[in-house]
């Protein structure tokens, strides 16, 4: 059986459908991403898999163990890094690590191999209280604490949120190295660009999975032609394009706007030039995960 199996999970909080018919599996050594904004249901799903919350309906297994019946066994086997920083702020880096090792009846020394790469980066600060670390350092320590008992499955809930691009890149490099140790990793993120770093992803919004596949397959399946637009006055360009009858969608994408149209670009560009736009650049653009995500969001017309 696959290390993580989720079958038709539902969870309701009052009137809000936090999770709606969620199903997927994660294979051995697979890095699986839950991609979606706050409120998509990612953390609720983690809490169910980490045996901290009961689903209303559906079934989930971790290492072949049932998340409801076998919760004690699961808790010993998984490493869980919650979205909110949950280490002891008043304990030092080293104390936190020893604390988590002790809870799991092990020692830092016994599993040091697994965390060496990561721990060495924060070792210079080992006597600093965890609460005084920078964002990136905190995340590295939290990952060490989640790994110190040599878990057979790793749950990482938004490990890179609010972390700067350099620390984010370092964190993902660490996950790639962990993969080589054959630990399946379920990781969530609101940063769409991080989807491409996963083996497979589930795109989530409003408690539902909109699509599951490898990132290249998701992009390849997206058939809508996207055009990149740029001019000297981007704010006016956005407004003019949105007002144009042939333009379906227009979103800012870094230096360019990504535009989908019902006509060819020449018809639109004519009216832009006539409207006084200078420095106009129009070229075909490759869709990315974020383009697909937005298209799926718009198709998901109402919350489930």
């Amino acid at each position: 059986m696959e290390p993580i199996v989720v079958q038709n999970i539902y969870k309701q909080f009052g009137n809000v459908s936090a999770l709606h018919d969620i199903s997927f599996t994660v294979g051995p050594g697979e890095l699986f991403g839950l991609i979606g904004p706050d409120g998509a249901g990612k953390s609720t799903l983690f809490r169910i898999l980490a045996t901290l919350l009961l689903a209303d309906k559906g079934k989930a297994m971790v290492n072949g163990l049932d998340v409801v019946k076998d919760y004690r066994a699961i808790r010993r086997q998984v490493g869980y890094m919650p979205g909110k920083f949950s280490l002891y702020q008043d304990l030092t880096v080293e104390e936190n690590l020893h604390f988590f090792a002790t809870i799991f009846n092990t020692t830092v020394k016994e599993n040091y191999d697994l965390i060496r790469d990561i721990y060495e980066q924060i070792a210079p600060f080992k006597n600093r209280p965890a609460g005084k670390l920078s964002g990136g350092m905190k995340q590295k320590l939290a990952l060490c604490c989640a790994l110190v008992h040599k878990p057979s499955v790793l749950f990482l809930d938004e490990p890179t949120t609010g972390v700067d691009p350099v620390s984010r890149k370092e964190f993902w490099d660490m996950l790639q190295r962990l993969k080589e140790k054959n630990i399946p990793i379920l990781v969530s993120t609101p940063y769409m660009d991080e989807a491409t770093l996963c083996d497979r992803v589930a795109l989530m919004q409003n408690g539902a999975i909109m699509q599951i596949d490898t990132p290249p397959a998701i992009v390849a399946e997206f058939r809508t032609k996207i055009w990149a637009f740029k001019s000297d006055d981007m704010y006016r360009l956005i407004r003019d394009l949105r007002a144009h009858p042939e333009v379906k969608t227009c979103f800012a994408f870094g230096e360019f706007l990504h535009v989908t149209m019902t006509a060819g670009p020449e018809e639109v560009s004519g009216s832009l030039t006539a409207g006084g736009h200078t420095g106009l650049v129009i070229k075909p653009a490759n869709a990315g995960i974020e383009d697909v995500f937005m298209a799926l969001m718009q198709a998901q017309t109402q919350p489930v």
């Binding site: 904004p37 706050d38 691009p165 350099v166 984010r168 609101p190 800012a252 870094g254 969001m297």
Partner: protein, 243 residues
């Protein structure tokens, strides 16, 4: 010549032996969208708190909206707006109560508050939600509301500290529509973000590394200077060089 909204000269803040902000010098023009980037711990928040009149510098000079940051901090606070992901609205007040509360703080008259409330709810399509508690709103709506409230007193500068964290890609772009709209009206936008695609939407960007400004230019010029295709590459090159 365009009047400067912010001007700093060798602005410095020390905490004991630690220099959080190290002699930064820059100008921001009125109506400019200025991206203030840097790694976690690079000194952005310290600099921003000084510019908002919340923290007294150790040395150096700065004027914000024409006022001195040592002696005229109360004047500065009246002329700026501020919003961050962490602090924005009162969750246990309704949408209208939040507008009324902030309008009151900034000294708007009852009549102004009434007009602003109607205008704001209509622009954000929140007419139906006016009497809802803010905590019941989706995050994206909260952030758009928070921005609109941050500019309710028509400030000349608005400081945005990672305003778009965690929101979905469509809402994130709608938020930037609001930013563009305000900038087009002449409001200066001073914004921090960890989304490097958003850095491209700024007129100019500064990148702080270890308390100093390591680069300051338009996104296009920075990409050219560092031989990079994206701002993300520029950022990685600069912020990584330190270690």
């Amino acid at each position: 010549m365009t009047q400067s909204a912010i001007t700093t000269t060798a602005l410095t803040k020390r905490f004991g032996n630690f220099i959080a902000t190290n002699a930064i010098t820059f100008d921001v023009a009125q109506g400019e969208i200025f991206g203030f980037l840097g790694a976690n711990g690079a000194g952005k928040t310290t600099a921003m708190r000084m510019l908002c009149g919340l923290l007294r510098p150790s040395s150096g000079e700065a004027r914000v909206a024409g006022f001195d940051i040592y002696t005229q901090t109360e004047k500065i606070k009246q002329r700026i707006g501020y919003m961050s992901q962490k602090f924005s609205l009162y969750e246990d007040l309704t949408v209208k109560e939040n507008i009324r509360f902030y309008g009151g703080i900034y000294g708007l008259s009852n009549r102004q508050i009434r007009d602003k409330t109607a205008d704001l709810l209509q622009r954000l399509s929140l007419e139906q939600e006016g009497n809802m508690l803010v905590k019941a709103l989706p995050l994206g709506w909260k952030q758009k509301l928070a921005f609109s409230i941050a500019v309710i007193h028509d400030p000349s500068i608005v400081f945005l500290d990672e305003p778009t964290g965690g929101v979905d890609p469509i809402t994130r772009r709608q938020f930037w529509d609001l930013i563009y709209e305000s900038a087009a009206k002449g409001v200066t936008i001073f914004v921090t973000t960890h989304y490097m695609d958003e850095a491209e939407y700024c007129n100019r960007i500064s990148i702080m590394v270890d308390g100093k400004i390591k680069a300051l230019d338009t996104p296009a010029a920075l990409k050219k200077q560092y031989g990079a295709d994206t701002m993300n590459e520029v950022f990685l090159q600069l912020a990584r060089a330190k270690s």
